[in-house]
């Protein structure tokens, strides 16, 4: 279960917050503005996503809040990891927020999404709460997977994880799309992978079948420039990831601009839903952290590069500047959102560090679905453990 308290349709929240915070009335702000965004490179397409887009004040506030929540959540995870409260693998998403938020803004919760291991952000945009995500990272019973999955294995409705094996999620995503087509429900599947995974053979097998069978899948390559410690130039004979689908049309998108991502995703979703088959999007984005918490992230790229992206292309700063310079929000209002977000993260972290670990009785549960109870061998022959569905 999840509590989608931040669904984009929930306009009352942001309007209410603005009314409380600001001395200025609601009518003082510009309700919507038109923005010029970067033109996307296209491949095998006669036209691409629009370059003039409209964003409303409500949308802007929602995108801001969501991205800020994701940012602070990941930074808190960094902190908890360094305190050894989070263990194992932890792949952080800060820097890439515009991708998850822009995509979700263009699709419905009734659509489907699957990604790889850098998944905390998507778990959130798909409906998981910060509390349940953080408690999963700390391995507690209140975690979204009851502490059984960890960072790379979070699931919620129409979100298929969180997948640890690089590239394996791509055939899975096409399979979800096959189910959509089979069931005739006009839903689609957004299927994400990184620039590193883009060289996996199973992805090309999937391109072939998705195109052959016209599956309603949007393949999205989140190109953050590095597959672990290997830059794209050192890994790929062609770094035009949006063209690698060969017979699948592609779009290359500025992944740091939430409006670019949203517009391109809308374009892709329309394409898919019209029954034309799969489409490929490459989002050019950047991760501030290393590959994972055990990678400082500065042995294969310079601190100057990271700093330059932060100062010139940060997705949250970009959105903030746009809203302020178009009189769509006030500095105080956005600060108030920051304060609320910080509190939400703090509360979630508090929960995640105090909630108990799963009970030992849960050790062998959930091996099967809808199955009679069974006995599981423990570490020694006298240890007979119980497993229920």
């Amino acid at each position: 279960e999840y509590e989608p308290s931040h669904i984009y349709l929930n306009r009352a929240v942001s309007a209410g917050a603005a009314a409380v915070v600001s001395a200025r009335t609601y009518a003082d702000f510009t309700n919507e503005a038109t923005f010029e965004i970067k033109k996307c490179d296209t491949f095998k397409l006669d036209e691409g996503p629009a370059t003039q887009v409209v964003m409303t004040r409500d949308e802007g506030l929602q995108y801001y809040r969501t991205m800020q929540t994701m940012r602070r959540m990941e930074l808190k995870a960094d902190q908890l990891y360094k305190q050894k409260i989070i263990r194992g693998f932890c792949h952080l998403y800060d820097g890439q927020e515009a991708c998850a938020v822009g995509i979700e803004a263009a699709i419905n919760l009734s659509d489907h999404l699957i990604t790889a291991y850098r998944a905390h952000g998507y778990t959130y945009t798909r409906g998981g709460t910060v509390k349940k995500i953080m408690a999963e990272l700390t391995g507690r019973r209140g975690g979204i997977a009851k502490g059984k999955g960890g960072s790379m294995h979070m699931y919620c409705k129409h979100f298929y994880g969180g997948n640890g094996i690089v590239g394996a999620q791509v055939p899975l995503g096409a399979g979800v799309a096959l189910a959509c087509k089979y069931q005739g429900n006009s839903e689609l599947c957004v299927c994400l992978y990184g620039d590193g995974a883009a060289n996996q053979g199973q992805i090309f097998e999937t391109y072939n079948m998705a195109a052959l069978w016209k599956l309603p899948v949007i393949f999205i390559c989140e190109n953050n420039g590095y597959g672990m410690g290997t830059s794209v130039e050192r890994a790929a004979a062609s770094t035009d990831y949006f063209k690698r689908g060969e017979f699948i049309p592609g779009v290359r998108v500025d992944g740091m601009d939430v409006l670019c991502v949203r517009e391109a995703s809308r374009f892709a979703a329309d394409y898919c839903r019209s029954g034309k088959g799969p489409i490929l999007m490459e989002l050019q984005t950047y991760r501030y952290h290393g590959h994972s918490m055990s990678d400082p992230g500065v042995s294969y790229r310079t601190r100057e590069e990271i700093q330059e992206v932060r100062s010139k292309s940060d997705p949250i700063s970009m959105l903030k500047d746009r809203m302020l310079s178009n009189n769509m929000a006030s500095v105080e209002e956005l600060k108030e959102i920051d304060v609320e977000v910080r509190k939400e993260i703090e509360d979630a972290a508090q929960f995640a560090t105090t909630d108990p670990e799963p009970p030992l009785e849960d050790l062998c549960n959930h091996i099967f679905h809808n199955n009679p109870p069974l006995e599981v061998r423990g570490t020694n022959p006298w240890s007979k453990l119980k497993s229920v569905s």
Partner: protein, 333 residues
């Protein structure tokens, strides 16, 4: 007296799939040559003609890709039957079977079920040499989150495949190519569209008091043939057909051993870390150990890649005389 029909294993599998496709529109079959070719081994004969492109899907030669697609479809609410032309090719896709299918229910704490059946011929055929002859029972049965089923006769094939398709969890269904064409009596009960055999329960095919033979798939037949020969010498073998490798019905083996005091396991797979090895370990750990009058004997395939020449191939797999020899050695007669 029930009417008996002779049905080949192939036709039994075909019936099972036909009935389950008809019963539940979420069930579909995908794999290489399953549709227009009627199946590489004709197991899916007639199904495409009856159900069409939507439900019987020919795939390109992309095991990892189509196995992953099948798993994704299962996650999103369908009930796929994913055919591997032989389980040797499943090695290309084994990551999807284990990491995407088997482990997901557990990793998601029960949120995400994967109701999928992976089926196809397993183990040795005839003259197909090393890369096409491996038995994967031990590999798949090693992994929690999977059920591994290995039918012998037509009733097994039909009842177990129907149960596997109705199961909400990933099932690896190991058929045997050499058995496809073999006819077996099938009771009238087994002709029913609701006939299922429970996964996880072994069957005593032949009662006996001197020694227990445990086997799965094709070698159940070999055990019964050996038992017939041994009976003439006054040795009565109890033959157990495992039917399911995982979860293994150890209780049935133990009950038998407590009666006969001797145990021989028979399999086509290699000896090391195999099905027989597991049975030995489980017997030692359980109540039946004290009833053994001699150590358990394993009869297995020879520990080599499968050779091609017929004389070599014949000597790479358990023959009836090997079973007879092993029984007598175990009984010390």
């Amino acid at each position: 007296i029930q009417a008996q029909f002779n049905v080949t294993v192939r036709d039994a599998l075909n019936q099972a799939m036909d009935e389950e496709l008809e019963r539940d529109e979420r069930v579909f079959l995908l794999g290489e040559e399953v549709a227009q070719y009627d199946g590489a081994y004709k197991v899916s004969r007639g199904l495409w003609k009856k159900y069409g492109d939507k439900r019987i899907i020919d795939t390109p030669i992309s095991e990892m890709g189509f196995a992953g697609i099948a798993v994704g479809a299962a996650m999103a609410g369908l009930r796929p039957i994913c055919e591997f032309m032989t389980f040797n090719f499943s090695m290309q896709a084994i990551d999807q079977v284990i990491n995407s299918a088997a482990k997901t229910c557990y990793m998601s704490a029960g949120l995400q079920a994967v109701p999928i059946v992976f089926r196809g011929p397993n183990g040795a055929s005839a003259g197909v040499a090393a890369q096409h002859s491996q038995c994967f029972a031990a590999w798949y049965a090693h992994c929690p989150g999977l059920k591994v089923v290995s039918p012998w006769n037509s009733e097994d094939a039909k009842g177990l495949l129907k149960s596997s398709i109705r199961d909400d969890n990933p099932v690896v269904f190991l058929e045997n190519e050499l058995l496809y064409g073999v006819p077996f009596e099938m009771s009238e009960e087994a002709q029913s569209k609701d006939f299922t055999i429970p996964i996880g329960k072994a069957k005593v095919e032949r009662a006996g008091s001197h020694i227990t033979l445990v086997s799965h798939s094709r070698y159940v037949g070999h055990c019964l043939d050996a038992a017939a020969v041994l009976a003439k010498e006054g040795i009565e073998c109890e033959v157990i057909n495992l039917r399911t490798i995982r979860p293994m019905d150890v209780e049935s083996i133990e009950a038998s051993v407590m009666k006969t005091n001797h145990l021989v396991t028979v399999e086509g797979g290699w000896p090391q870390f195999g099905v027989g090895a597991e049975i030995c370990a489980r017997i030692m750990e359980g109540s039946a150990f004290n009833y053994l009058d001699s150590p358990v004997t394993r009869v297995t395939g020879v520990d080599i890649p499968m050779p091609y020449a017929k004389i070599l191939e014949d000597h790479s797999l358990p023959q009836i005389k090997d079973i007879i020899f092993s029984v007598k050695k175990t009984l010390n007669v």
